[in-house]
Amino acid sequence: MSDFWILNMFFVVLLFLIGLFCLLAMKNLIKLLIGIELLSKGILLALIATGFEKNTILTSQSLAISFIVVEVSVLATAMALIINLYRHTKSLDVKNISNLKG
């Protein structure tokens, strides 16, 4: 394994852990979306860095583009959900969204 790849993976893990921390610790819905974004950034960096290491950068790029499209679709749906939830609860705190709790 080259040092370059290991350096990239070090930062991938760091990004992933920051994203996970954001998902676990934050209570604001938009902050949770930011956490998901950070996770996806880590995955994208891992894809491209591994493609660069394996000499398959073209396939990695096409996978990364597919991933970005999925990410945008998920985020657009999540933001529409957030706006609808805000209209009902007048709050972005996840603690206030417990109406469906059993």
Binding site: F21, I30, L45, N55, V69, Y86
Partner: protein, 158 residues
Amino acid sequence: MHTFLLLGLVSCSILAVFSSDLLKAAISLAGASIFLAMLFFEMGATYAGVFEISVVAGLITVLFIATISLTTKEEETKHSKRLRLLFPLILIGLILIDFLFMRQYLGGLAPLAGPAETGEFGQIFWGGRTFDLVAQIAIILSGVFCVLALFRKRSGDE
């Protein structure tokens, strides 16, 4: 240069997580996207870099700002003091764990480098991954229908 870009990416990400103003958090996230796109350019992934800048740093930031302006009324997200004090310690712990174990585990893997890919990006994207493109179209359409369904006016509202 590469390490500087990686450090910029992580710093912008930490700013995005810990900024008390949501608008500043969204802009920091766009900054992180720009750093990531520059990393892509540096590694030769130009098409992915262009997508990252135009779609993630552009479109998603606009979506974030639109959502923030539609939902919050200049209210700030207050983080607990304990979280603010705890985060640097957790981050240092994570970096230490990452630094101590990463090389040990990844160093044992077989080398990844193989023969270089031949052909153009277009051939691989349109020819080799046609099924992905069909799936992408389906995902985009499902996203559009979800948003339409969520913003549909009820008959009672009119």
